[in-house]
Symmetry: C2
């Protein structure tokens, strides 16, 4: 089990990048994720990364910003077998947002677990392409 | 630069651990941090860890729970030289909670950067003992 990334919802990517650079972070990649209606800057931190996320249209991230303001939006965990992880989580009573994996950034297969069962944390499961 | 840990504020450590175990996390350590008035369960995730944090008395974490409910409380980053990191952050206009490092868990030297400059994220800098 490894941490894939931590997603931080922000209003302005350039302003956020500048502030994170002040602490020593550096941009690794920048791109649009059409399916989730966001633009993302990823900054590598050891084997994980921090992602600054800006909504490009109405969606989950724009709603988060409107209700809670800027801050950590989700935590993404790398798993080897996402179907197995989802079946296991459901069997143990966790509430799933995605019962089946969907396509994420860079060919990843992803699924979200509802924050209600994770003590307020939106958890994304990520299976990277083999 | 590496991710030290992600701190999640919870009301009940045993209940939270049970739910995180459902996703495959395992307890690594459990203990009290008197200075911060919390009890912590750490779960290793690759080179980082996730910490479940329960307040044992009135303090920053109990206030967070009262105002925001359970969820991610802070993000901790390992740095080689915490004085240098603090001087650099201040010079670049970031607001510091701790101008000087203080003693954290396990002999770590720690300092917090205010979330106002980090787009809603409370960032802890951690210098581990040499």
């Amino acid at each position: 089990m490894k941490l894939a990334h931590i997603g931080i919802a922000v209003n302005d990517l350039d302003a956020a990048l500048k502030d994170y650079e002040s602490l020593g972070f550096r941009q690794h990649q920048r791109g649009f994720v059409e399916e989730q209606k966001v633009e993302v800057i990823s900054m590598e931190v050891g084997e994980s990364s921090i992602e600054l996320i800006r909504p490009t249209a109405e969606g989950a991230v724009s709603k988060f910003l409107a209700s809670k303001g800027e801050g950590i939006h989700h935590l993404a965990i790398k798993v080897d077998d996402i179907e197995k992880a989802l079946v296991g989580a459901k069997a143990k009573g966790l509430r799933l947002i995605d019962e089946r994996p969907r396509l994420g950034f860079g060919g990843n297969r992803i699924a979200f677990v509802h924050p209600s069962g994770m003590h307020g944390v939106l958890v994304e499961l990520v299976e990277e392409p083999k």
